[in-house]
């Protein structure tokens, strides 16, 4: 059996210090690692260190001036980039490793060393735009890998189930016909983007799919949104690779948001999305948010177990929350518009 590669970037994530009491902290990585260990996947999991992204790899998605100013700011000791986003002297190194480790997974897949991968990097990435850090994110980790794959002719689906909309990823691939971006997220919430009518640029209409969910939405609504809207669109797109912006902050215990999912919901979502990958070695999940350490640990374990085809559901799945009607409406609307 070809194993799952878990890229820990662990020695590097510690370098990124966001300040005392900040929820995006190094302990998150330890919680994810503990959660994966708790499942007991044995030989189904191999671990790797990852690697830093090179400047040319970053320049596929980020502006040169932004990279220069951010790295210089960090080299000067760091500070607050905005009220949410703080960097320290080691943040640049940590960010490079978080951004490059998806590429290490691609290289491992090319060698036939792994069937899928989970990148346990921080800082997270999906809010980082081509030219700005925000929302705890410095470099757009999933975008760096997606852009590299697109450049070699692949068709990439990015499924983003972090509780916050991935405005950075959406902006980077807004008019790119090689990448389909799908996001479920709480609405209204940070960062204020992700309305259903945001569907992509003039050359890529329909290749951005936003599925905002109301506060309190449970996992069954998210699964319905993915299964009734996202999966048909993705199958029509015909991906050769599937990347997941795998935030765990839609968990009901997360302090930063108001959705009501459980760990089992992440297992179910992974089970639903993973088959989009057309072959082994075409699926990478990237850690994004998730700030309650216990919920993060359980949810990461459940998601990675599902990647391995095993059932680990430390909490029952959730159901009965709001949002069904609007998801039904979107599905119907897409059918009527002929883009379902």
């Amino acid at each position: 059996m070809i194993p799952i590669l878990v890229l820990e970037c662990a020695t590097r994530t510690d370098l990124h210090f966001t300040g005392h009491g900040h929820p995006e902290r190094a302990e998150r990585v330890k919680a994810v690692q503990a959660g994966i260990n708790r499942v007991g996947l044995g030989d189904s999991v191999v671990r790797g260190r990852g690697r830093p992204a090179s400047r040319p790899e970053l320049l596929r998605v980020h502006k040169e001036a932004y990279l220069d100013s951010l790295s210089a700011f960090i080299a000067g000791g760091g500070g607050d980039l905005d009220p949410d986003t703080h960097v320290s002297g080691g943040s640049w190194d940590a960010a490079l490793w978080a951004a490059g480790s998806g590429l290490e997974a691609v290289e491992a897949f090319d060698r036939g060393d792994a069937a899928s991968a989970f990148v346990v990097g921080r800082p997270p990435g999906h809010h980082a735009t081509s030219g700005a850090a925000m929302g705890f994110c410095l470099l757009n980790n999933v975008a760096v890998t997606a852009a590299a794959l697109a450049e070699r002719g692949e068709r990439v689906v990015i499924v983003d189930w972090d509780v916050h909309h991935g405005n950075g990823t959406q902006e980077i691939f807004w008019d790119d016909t090689r990448v389909l971006y799908v996001s479920t997220h709480e609405w209204p919430s940070y960062p204020g983007t992700g309305r259903p009518q945001e569907i992509g640029g003039p050359n890529a209409l329909g290749l951005t799919i936003n599925l905002p969910l109301p506060p309190g939405a449970t996992g069954d609504v998210a699964r319905f949104a993915i299964e009734s809207v996202a999966l048909p669109a993705a199958e029509k797109f015909g991906p050769t690779w599937v990347l997941i912006s795998c935030g765990f902050d839609a968990h009901r215990d997360d302090p930063l948001a108001g959705l009501s999912w459980s760990a089992a919901d992440y297992a179910d979502l992974m089970t639903a999305v993973a088959p989009l990958a057309p072959a082994p070695g075409r699926l990478i999940a990237f850690l994004e948010g998730g700030y309650d350490l216990h919920a993060l640990s359980l949810s990461a374990g459940a998601a990675v177990a599902a990647m391995a085809g095993q059932s680990y559901r430390p909490e029952p799945p959730t159901s009965g929350g709001p949002g069904w009607e609007q998801v039904k409406w979107w599905a119907e609307l897409r059918k009527r518009a002929g883009i379902a």
């Binding site: 210089a72 700011f73 980039l81 009220p83 949410d84 986003t85 925000m134 929302g135 209204p188 108001g258």
Partner: protein, 146 residues
């Protein structure tokens, strides 16, 4: 030159209140509309040492304070105004609000609720003056403010 719309950044700080007061006075003279914008970030509801406030409850509390306290000088004026909560970093939220409203002017205080921070990329006010394509007025701290 007509100043039909003025966007003012609001965060509840004394300096922001001074900015609102200045915008209200200017709008009264120029007969402009004012949009008072507060940007909601990811961390605002996580007060150190307190239990986190549920996000929706926090949003409502901020909306109430925005309407009742933070824009009080507008409420007590004859100026036409609206208030709006936006999500995201303050700089992006204010620039986008100005763009959406085709604002003629952006008004902010020199120092917001987060206080001084030794950042090269600058405070909200300094970033706005660097990035905005519209005129920006930065109101200093009121005399005697600590």
């Amino acid at each position: 030159m007509k100043y039909n719309m003025i966007v003012v950044g609001v965060d509840g700080s004394p300096n922001s209140l001074a900015a609102v007061r200045w915008a209200a006075e200017l709008a009264g003279v120029l007969q402009s509309r004012v949009l008072a914008v507060h940007a909601l970030g990811l961390l605002e509801h996580l007060s150190p040492g307190d239990e986190p406030v549920p996000v929706e409850q926090h949003r409502q509390e901020i909306q109430d304070r925005l309407e009742q306290e933070w824009t009080a000088p507008l409420g007590s004026s004859a100026v036409a105004y609206d208030v709006e909560l936006r999500y995201g970093p303050p700089v992006q939220a204010l620039l986008q609000a100005a763009e959406d409203e085709n604002a003629d002017l952006i008004v902010v205080g020199t120092r917001g609720a987060s206080g001084h921070s030794p950042i090269r990329l600058g405070s909200t006010s300094s970033q706005l003056t660097e990035l905005s394509t519209r005129p920006v007025v930065v109101i200093p701290m009121p005399a005697g403010t600590p």
